[in-house]
Symmetry: D2
Subunit: 139 residues, 4 copies
């Protein structure tokens, strides 16, 4: 039974594993769930002043990775196999929140649903289904 990491342990892992990027700002983790908060800066914007698609996809990928770790422990060689993103409405905000919830955790594959919204908003700006492949246990 793997130990679920704390938010501090997750942050430390991301800082070390992705040295060129700022560590995600986790605001909650649970049993198969994780949420992050992003302070929007100029490099996150696209024409129209919207938070860009790649910024949102990156958040979706990150929160899913973390949500899986809440169940199986920090497992770096878990890798994305697909990410299906639907952009529903423009995301114009200074603070973005992304929340992932696992909907499947099998032996080979984990699937999460992710909602991304402006902090405080009741409507999701985008929705993602993200699938990761888990490393083989004997590898």
């Amino acid at each position: 039974m793997p130990q679920s990491p704390t938010m501090d342990q997750l942050k430390a892992f991301f800082t070390e594993a992705f040295p060129g990027s700022s560590a995600p700002d986790f605001i909650a983790i649970g049993d198969g769930t994780a949420s992050v908060r992003l302070q929007v800066e100029d490099q996150h914007l696209r024409p129209g002043g919207y938070v860009s698609g790649p910024t949102q996809m990156s958040l979706a990928d990150t929160v899913t990775y973390a949500a899986i770790f809440t169940r199986i422990g920090i497992t770096p060689m878990t890798v994305t196999t697909s990410l299906n993103m639907s952009f529903l409405r423009p995301l114009i905000t200074r603070v973005v929140v992304a929340e992932a919830k696992l909907i499947k955790l099998g032996r080979m594959l984990a699937v999460a649903e992710v909602l991304i919204r402006a902090e405080g908003s009741g409507s999701a700006a985008s929705h993602a289904v993200v699938t990761y492949a888990l490393p083989k246990e004997d590898a």
Copy 2:
């Protein structure tokens, strides 16, 4: 009939529209097609030394945006509505190439297929289907 932009015009547009990012390095554009090349740096990597998912998704989004512009001219308020990415195999390389080809250009929606590979490789590392909504003509 809109004028197709040159690669220099595309680069100038991206430089201005995305001030926090380095402009894409276009290597070819055609009638409904565009290719970019990315020199991999540390911030593009994930554990395992693979080019990260978000790096690849960002390239897929960019080449599709450019491929649409080859047909309708530079139209900044064209916005991504969905991006479905399938990661097929680890991408371990110093130079990534992403190529988009439009498979639909309607009045409302454009759809492109994108292949991403290590430069010189015959096998795609990932495959994307990217849909953009075109701004209304009367808007």
Copy 3:
């Protein structure tokens, strides 16, 4: 303001519009939601005794079509533009339930999330994101 159809009106529409198929058995409709129930027969199965993928995709398409009609009235020329289905676990049951919930209703596009499960089960067997294009108002 279009009138939301009743379940009987939806059934009558499907019976007439899809003469070769049995009408969906709606069990609930709401404001942007619809659920159907399917009694599994031999032609719905695939090897392993699982309810087949095409059976589930067809249900996902149908409940989304109906969920849209609860908001805009019965509008036959609403057409599917994409359907992204994730199969999470084998679906072995005599009765399937599919539920759609609209997560976007714009002027051009509607997007729904669909969950499919064995009747009485707490775990979804599959998850879909279905996008429809709405006919132009002046068409």
Copy 4:
């Protein structure tokens, strides 16, 4: 090294494995590729006289299943894990052709790209990316 099935063997498999459905009419199989042809009947249509989405998704699923079998032999417990379908334009025809091409065949997952068109047409009416999970070798 598994033996690639003939088209007759594929047809016989589908007839037996899906007793309630008419067997797919294979028109070509190759190394990681398969094509089928469908004679359109009333039950395949949706309002507007278009070939319905579920009809096209079912074809996409079938040709991918067969394309995988050209590489690994007939393996019934290969199961769909995701199907992402993009509908590009109305499909109005008496004969539909669906072609699958494997873009990945790993130990756990196979991914194919599928194009569906009116027989004789140069433009795809829809495009799918279909992922199947392969049964474990020791299972």
